[in-house]
Symmetry: C2
Subunit: 190 residues, 2 copies
């Protein structure tokens, strides 16, 4: 993202929240500056760009950085949406392959619909499934996720277990397409 | 299954239910006789045998038969359980490939833990995700699933969408392995 785009997007979020009486210090900038100034770097971009985006900022990442991969590779055909398995096994592992070895990657947030998260009046009762090889980094992301009301974070084990988490997202779309009254679906394990 | 095994398993189920004051007419027999006498044929066998089992009884299936595929192909490695994608795309499609063209296949019940279903005191609030190319057959399986208290059946579209449903099952095991107090997990979409 370019600096002006980042600034403008951040201003939108600030204004939306200010309208509800919530003051925030959300700020936007370009990718390199964002990476350099962040502890938690979320690669919130389309799956085809996730690895490239992180690779482009890999030298900007700080020593304390944690990279979070929320992207899902999907393809649509005549029957619906399908998980389009990346060569690395999952998007999260493709991102890990271009991240410096000392920076931990956590896979998370794939199964949350943007429509559900941005509807600030919606009550959530959903799970965020987290996977990764660094227990401390995973713990930080679990805490972050659970700061959102109605979200529970669950641990699916090492990063190599991310594919089965990412695969749920095309199913969520297929379910919304085939069942009346369902949209912006998430998942709860019980 | 051989006739005596089938009979003995059926007697176990009858007795367990009789102990709770429930009379049933559960009966067991060999696979060919079961196929010949059934409208709904559930290939409840390990994934490696699902297609072979149905192929062995294909000439015994009646004109009204519906074949239900609940199996999931999984492999375990050092990180946990993984979906082991069959060449046909999913177990359900592998079963469909050996079933007579006029017999519809419905993929369903993959994400229910045996431990949860056989614990007759457990209250369920889970989803059964159904996929298939024959709307009528899917409707029959939806009704069957929803006759079980606490189960809701959702339609994921055509049979080609089964892989993403089957993929959830190894994740359910990974979650049970990595989160205290979770076991025999199922899934709910909301």
């Amino acid at each position: 993202m370019y600096k002006r785009q980042g600034e403008s997007r951040a201003a939108d979020y600030r204004n939306r929240l200010a309208d509800r009486g919530i003051d925030t210090d959300i700020s936007g900038t370009d990718n390199a500056s964002a990476a350099a100034g962040s502890r938690i770097v979320v690669a919130g971009v389309p799956p085809a760009y996730a690895a490239d985006t992180i690779e482009a900022v890999r030298d900007d990442l700080t020593e304390e950085a944690i990279v979070v991969s929320p992207a899902v590779a999907m393809a649509r055909n005549g029957t619906g949406f399908h998980y389009d398995t990346p060569e690395a096994g999952s998007v999260a592992e493709a991102v890990a392959a271009v991240t410096p070895d000392e920076v931990p990657i956590v896979s998370a947030f794939q199964n949350l619909a943007a429509g559900a998260l941005t509807d600030l009046d919606r009550e959530l009762a959903l799970d965020v499934v987290v996977s990764g090889d660094d227990a401390d980094a995973k713990g930080v992301v679990v805490e972050l996720a659970e700061e959102i009301d109605g979200l529970r974070a669950l641990d699916a084990g090492p990063l190599a277990n991310s594919a089965e988490i990412e695969s749920i997202t095309p199913l969520l779309i297929n379910l919304a397409m085939n069942n009346d009254g369902m949209h912006d679906l998430g998942v709860r394990f019980q």
